[in-house]
Point group: C3
Chain length 427, copies 3
Amino acid sequence: MIGQEILDFAKAIFPINRSLTGEGVRETFRHIKEHLPGLTVHAVPSGTEAFDWVVPNEWEITEAYIEDSSGKRLVDFANNNLHVVGYSTAVDVALSLDELQEHLHSLPDKPEAIPYVTSYYSDRWGFCLTHLQRMALVPDTYRAVIRSRKFQGVMNYAELIIPGESSKEVFLSTYICHPSMANNEVSGPSVLTFIGKWLQSAPRHFTYRLVFLPETIGAIYYLSQHLEHLRQHVHVGFNISCVGDDRNYSFVSSRKGQTLADRIAGHILPILSPSFVRHSFLERASDERQYGSPLVDLPLVSLSRTKYGCYDEYHTSLDNFDVVTSTGLEGGFNMITSCIQAAESNRTYVARFPCEPQLGKRGLYPTLGGGKVAASVDVLLNVLAYCDGETDLLTLAEICGLSIFEVADAAKTLEEHGLISEIRLSS
Amino acid sequence: MIGQEILDFAKAIFPINRSLTGEGVRETFRHIKEHLPGLTVHAVPSGTEAFDWVVPNEWEITEAYIEDSSGKRLVDFANNNLHVVGYSTAVDVALSLDELQEHLHSLPDKPEAIPYVTSYYSDRWGFCLTHLQRMALVPDTYRAVIRSRKFQGVMNYAELIIPGESSKEVFLSTYICHPSMANNEVSGPSVLTFIGKWLQSAPRHFTYRLVFLPETIGAIYYLSQHLEHLRQHVHVGFNISCVGDDRNYSFVSSRKGQTLADRIAGHILPILSPSFVRHSFLERASDERQYGSPLVDLPLVSLSRTKYGCYDEYHTSLDNFDVVTSTGLEGGFNMITSCIQAAESNRTYVARFPCEPQLGKRGLYPTLGGGKVAASVDVLLNVLAYCDGETDLLTLAEICGLSIFEVADAAKTLEEHGLISEIRLSS
Amino acid sequence: MIGQEILDFAKAIFPINRSLTGEGVRETFRHIKEHLPGLTVHAVPSGTEAFDWVVPNEWEITEAYIEDSSGKRLVDFANNNLHVVGYSTAVDVALSLDELQEHLHSLPDKPEAIPYVTSYYSDRWGFCLTHLQRMALVPDTYRAVIRSRKFQGVMNYAELIIPGESSKEVFLSTYICHPSMANNEVSGPSVLTFIGKWLQSAPRHFTYRLVFLPETIGAIYYLSQHLEHLRQHVHVGFNISCVGDDRNYSFVSSRKGQTLADRIAGHILPILSPSFVRHSFLERASDERQYGSPLVDLPLVSLSRTKYGCYDEYHTSLDNFDVVTSTGLEGGFNMITSCIQAAESNRTYVARFPCEPQLGKRGLYPTLGGGKVAASVDVLLNVLAYCDGETDLLTLAEICGLSIFEVADAAKTLEEHGLISEIRLSS
């Protein structure tokens, strides 16, 4: 059900022509804001410096095509926004086939796919087309037209902060800079939009910070503005990318692989699927590159169904709604909510007095002795045994071979009976 | 030989009707005291509080049976003290077969076994019988008689403290609250009695604290009285349970599995049998539950031949002297004395000067060079190489792939030649 | 090429009759000094104390043989200096075959080999011969002559200190006390001589300390004179032994197996050969015994091609130039220079600013986005990702599955572009 809702949303934002900057990003934010009215859209002027980087000019494109000498449009941006190399400069030129070839991109080994190509920081123009289209081109005089401009405008990103009882934050990030591709783009903002709604549906312990930003430059700009705050407050973070296919679950470990985010993902994903994949930080290629860089080093992993780069349709026009399904999106949504619930559940308790309590007088233990006790009684006793004021429930769950949700339920029962007390994290 | 002595003792205390409290416990202590005259028997008044618990009333039973309408006794406590549910309230009532069934306990999958059942903290009465006996019951008017009473009396436990040159203690605990079962009860106090004799046969480095107490409530009461002392003084501890069969060796790890007791058991048991079993703390069910609870946390493991719950005859009348043998008891005795000797041997040494000493001039090294040196010389050199003031002999033995007794012998030779010095533990 | 040069040198010093002391050692040093003019030869008077040891008298031998009653020399030191037990006392005596046998050493399982036997610290005399020679002896009156003397002389050793920009030292040790054996003796000083030349061919970061000394007593004496200095200054050390055969690569771990020397050898040797052997410290038998003893504990491993004791010809006359080859010596030379270069390369860096730098504007990253980046770009990004001021390049290389030389090259590029800064080791 939630899967279908997310899919409908994903299909609505799919056709928009997004890039690092421009109207497509703003239109995408208008769609998200319908579900998350609290979303704040920020605008950063072109030329703004951020660490080693500079925010590029805004890019606008209205029309682009290649036509042959008969005036027939062979490749047209109006049909698919992947047909133009992202950030192409304007052009209106006649050329021979040979001259045209230098500006074409196709994939010989995927002849039916239009590749996704960009040139953000170097002025050039180009068209992407299927290899079948390219093979069909004959010697002729072609006209290549791109009506685009780069200008001193803005780069946009959006954030939503949902306060909780703690000032410690769960940081959730996704990117909104790719044109019409389903898994590697719209699955991320679509699922995160519905995560935002779900987070607001009930009070939470942690404060939640959701950001939707252009990949790389957006994350770097955001870090340049919030680094000290994030380093102090982020309790756990998840970068969200490619969460819409129904093939597997995976995460990219943090730089040293030992953060709370790694522990949570390493606990939850095997529950979702025994065939889940734990990618090394060496396999990173999304914004975990920035969030995990040495002087940033947030406790964050990237969550995916099938990770970018690990599926055939990646970065092509074949990354469409054959790849992304309602079941796939629902699995992505469940993975993220499970990780969030694990973070919310991961308390640390201490026993209220030495030795086991007498569970029998509280109705928690059989009064008839000599036989085996029920598994649920064992869980209570095992949780009690590790409530030592140091072992958090995530560790305790791993020791006991249980899910954090099972041990959290047991801890709740024990706490209600006055047998354990929570040790508060400093916030 | 020691096995036969222990077996004779075990057979002598086997028939006594023990429970948490009562005359059976005191009679058992009189038997133990014949071998351990220094044993002190303590009496704790019913109703005494101990952490979350209250010492229950004393239970006395003189007679119990079920007879049929012809006056024939079908089930009789006089034949086997397992026939009555432990702590049964008094009853003298006539009932139909259906009414009687509600008070009967048998084991359909072990038709020849009388199960062991108790109801310490909830008032009820009941009889235990073999499933064959139960199946033979026909509709009739039965009379069920239990002549018992619960009264404001005492709970008994016994302790023996054997002083050594150090105030650091080796803590040895076993339980004495089960009626006529051989492995899961009398093997423990029987072996510990003879351990006590053996400990007194020679001076020891450590002080030894031996306790014989009712399981759970006895251990909890004892901890409530001695917690700070035990936490400060217990160097290593062993809970002793089911040490009389000849099938395997096993131990239950401590809560975090890293204490000296774990290291000793993990070193000694593989020497006794390569098929030994290291049970996780999750498999605990005896007094290690209390000794290892978070606010107690003694450095203790439970030692067993075949652990409670891991053999078919457990908690039934089949746990008899077919299960427990002189060989089995002798193995249990050897396991515990070996662990104790490992604790006594586990010194830490430091070399007296840099570089290897000239062993040749002390007759410890061949004067003819060029060939292989004997294994015994290698042991000396390897022990020397790790006498760094930090590595204890147990660690050293594991590094060298030797037993602690071999490395302790080598260390003794080296110390006698003035080549190493012991680093004293603070006591 | 370097292999052939080393082989020529090894052949030149092979025939010299070396022992713990004596003219053979001094003659060997004269050969080394031809290549290393800075070498300083030290003389330690007989009787000098060093920790638990005393420097033995100097041993001189001019002639030794066994002749039969016809005056035929059957065994002659002039033919092979292994024929005499090292440090044999003088003798000129007639004896029966039975009497002679008590002074003979041979190897029944290696009938063509003359064994290597010594008696440094106990006065005796003896001859070593092939088992075939021994079997051919018939009852006769034999004359055994050894013209030797032990006298108050000196023990020699040599050192070469090559200053670097850091006062931290790389310590390189080999021994020069064995007579004519190729792998277990002359390979070590021969390779170390050429390592010394190579070290002087370019400036180095570290100071290099090369010592050539009699095994055991030489190392102990050296430590007795330099212990505090070495403990403070040795950054990494390598003992060099048996580096001339072409069968394998191996090292003997340090006492705890965790020093920088272990890490370097554990990184370099698998690159040289996947079948390399990591010997435990328990398998030590050369001067790592002293350098790794508890109160010395230098960060040192022993490097070998095939380790002493692990090849059939060891400690016999069969350890000759069938075993040691130019290829074998060149491999030994490469192993040691690689380990030294790894030590020199093992810097620690920190990123100059948060987040990834924009590599594209520096020509280090493709300007066209969307496709896979080259492996060399990945290396840059991965090195950057771990330049956190804590992770040294050796660790970084292991994390990235690359050689330290590859990551050092990448680090150099990054440093040249001002993207990372070296964190200086305190020296």
